[in-house]
Amino acid sequence: MAQPETPETEPHSEHTGDDHGHDDHHEQSFVSKYILSTDHKMIAMQYMFTGMIMALIGGFMVYAFRTQLAYPGISVPGYGTVSAGEYNALVTNHGTIMIFWVAMPVLIAAFGNYLIPLMLGCDDMVFPRLNRLSYQIFLLSAIVLVVSFFVPGGGFGGAWTAYPPLSAKAEYSLTPLGSTLWLVAVALEFVAFLIGGINFVTTAMNSRAPGMKMFDMPIVIWMIVIASILFMASVGPLIAGAVMLFFDQNVGTAFFDPDRGGDPMLWQHLFWFFGHPEVYVVLLPACGITAEILTVFSRKKMFAYKTVINTALGTGILSFFVWAHHQFISGIDPRMANVFTITTVIISIPIAEMMFVYVATLYGGSITFSTPMLWALSFVVEFLLGGVTGLFLGASGADIYFHDTYFVLAHFHYTFVPIAILGTFAGITFWFPKMFGRMMSDKWGKIHFWGTVIPFNLIFIPLFMLGAAGQHRRIYSYENFPELAVPALQDLRILATNSLYVMLAFQVIFLINFFYSAFKGKKASKNPWDSNTLEWTAASPPPHGNFPGAMPNVYRGPYEYSHPDREDDFWPQDEPA
């Protein structure tokens, strides 16, 4: 990979894994440097590149099933005809991959691993070997998932929510092996992130540079830590649920089998008790990345720093009390829906407030529209639409109609695409100079930006309209539904699919820009964006141990831009007063 060769020491070989001595001057083999490394930066790269490969797989899946929807029955170039069963497997695994194997590894694991030690001014994670184990389990989970597509019966097709009894019995799902492997992969992925989360939280609590108080931490670190806590606090019930489902599938237990005293509703509660906090698990890191970029490129102090942290904490806590809004019409006691309507609508307050603060930060700024800034701004602009459309669904009365339509689908893609695509590109383009010691092309970056954001809207606005027209989800062909098979609606499907082709094609530009710049780009200085936070005081790319010689001391918060007492418009955290 593109980690440039540096003459620096690489003390983390097998036998010195946890030993941060800097006097161990032997060359590392390829395997110990790239495969078995315990260096947080290398593990971050492993997560990022694995996530990128999985994103290509998930992208290929959406290409195949969107083509089927726009041009029913066509032989999809590069895939073939999409049967009903394959369609289900494609949509199921597209969702699973994009959330668990793209958003999670890139936003939390890659940026968390890369940024936490660097931004806190320490040399590595607290538990480097645990960190390596986390990635290895994650990689195993990805392999298990990919294998599940090719077993007899094909991949699991019971939707990413895997509601039993469909997911529990092979005679219903017709994917005996696919269902089980899917479940094992998801459970392994959870284990990987539990281990990673322990590391993130412990490192942020214990390894901050001297002088750095909790409220001197950059917002992105706060967000990743809060996200890790949310994940760890919510995933336990679902892991228990996954074990029960595994037993139902393979041992003949009846946890979710109503004919023998089980209850399929139990799974839904376990799943969504995790599933809703999970939304914020991926949202918060993207909000954090955006905060870093907005301040740097508007040369502004973060407006009301503590309010941002409080809104994130408030959102996080509330997110544990909204899960049943996914189950309004699933047969829960209808009185319960009223409680969850209230909590769901109330959660709009902290998130709206966070967005207000972001906009307020731009006030009085000196704004430069660099590529990372465009991505960060687009996150705010697009996420707002995802946010407000959520209220149509949180309002239980309206959800009776919108539930399981494309309106839901368009809503959450207006949250997840800003999070996992726009937020990720913001982070990659912003920290690329630090990661690879070279600059990405700004011109090609902007072409890629517009080529992604415009088609994104042209994909999902038509899907809002289709949802309003009553188009229900996970249907491989609407030809059997006369009201939905009309040309006016088919044209919207074709528009969405063709826009998707454009969006996918522009990702080639990103990949070329990424790999070309990693090897041939203009050399980056230590601090190309004139940023305050500690990672920019390390070399680009940082050597093993991050800060050779003296470790940084911290004298102020992370967002002292354009301070009136200073000539420079930035004031690095480690510069003595």
Partner: protein, 245 residues
Amino acid sequence: MVEHYLTAASSYATDIDNLIWLVTIIVMPWFFLVQGILFYFLFKFKKKDGQKAQYITGEEAHQMRWVSVPHILVLLCDIVLIFGAIRVWVDIKQDMPTPDATVRIIAQQWAWTFVHPGPDNKIDTDDDIWTVDELHLENGQTYQYKLESRDVMHSFSVPVFRLKQDALPGRVISGWFKPIKEGNWSIQCAEMCGIGHGLMPARVIIESAAAHAAWISAHGPGKLAAATPAASAPAPQTAPAPQAP
């Protein structure tokens, strides 16, 4: 918005359409306001040579007001929205008006079975009329439905009614609807139920009292098998045999 695409064929369809408008009127001004301010700032505070950005902490009281006042306004909007949502919800899902008739809806992989009351206007009697993928209703009558599933989860969705209710194996879920418009419209399964999920279309046929009475007498006791080929399909109403471990 929805009424642009779909007629309102149940007594509460318009309530839901109005609720959707209420949400739109509450949230979209916020959306456009925030976007407007954001883009205004982007143009106004674009980098100019020699001009330094302002230093604003956002932590003083007069600055916090820019966030705390919208915060309270959002809360007020949320309260209106919650009341509107719950009012519609309680009416449709929680209250049960006295029904004129009851229909049983049975979902299975991958078909709908409808059990209509016969001339005695009661279900679970000998003169019940069983159909597959065709629900016959009399216009203006209030129906109670009893929804069940024989295998996996399904969801009974009638877009023109704005109604959706999941069918859960092991439970009988009750609800109601009152058709207000004659016609023939789509019923969907809205919950992933296996490879035939896209092959569960059914029709709801809303008839005048006379036409419905004629349909009942044409399909009444003794005429079951001959009348509609569909009606011969449903198996006896037994739960699927428990699976041996």
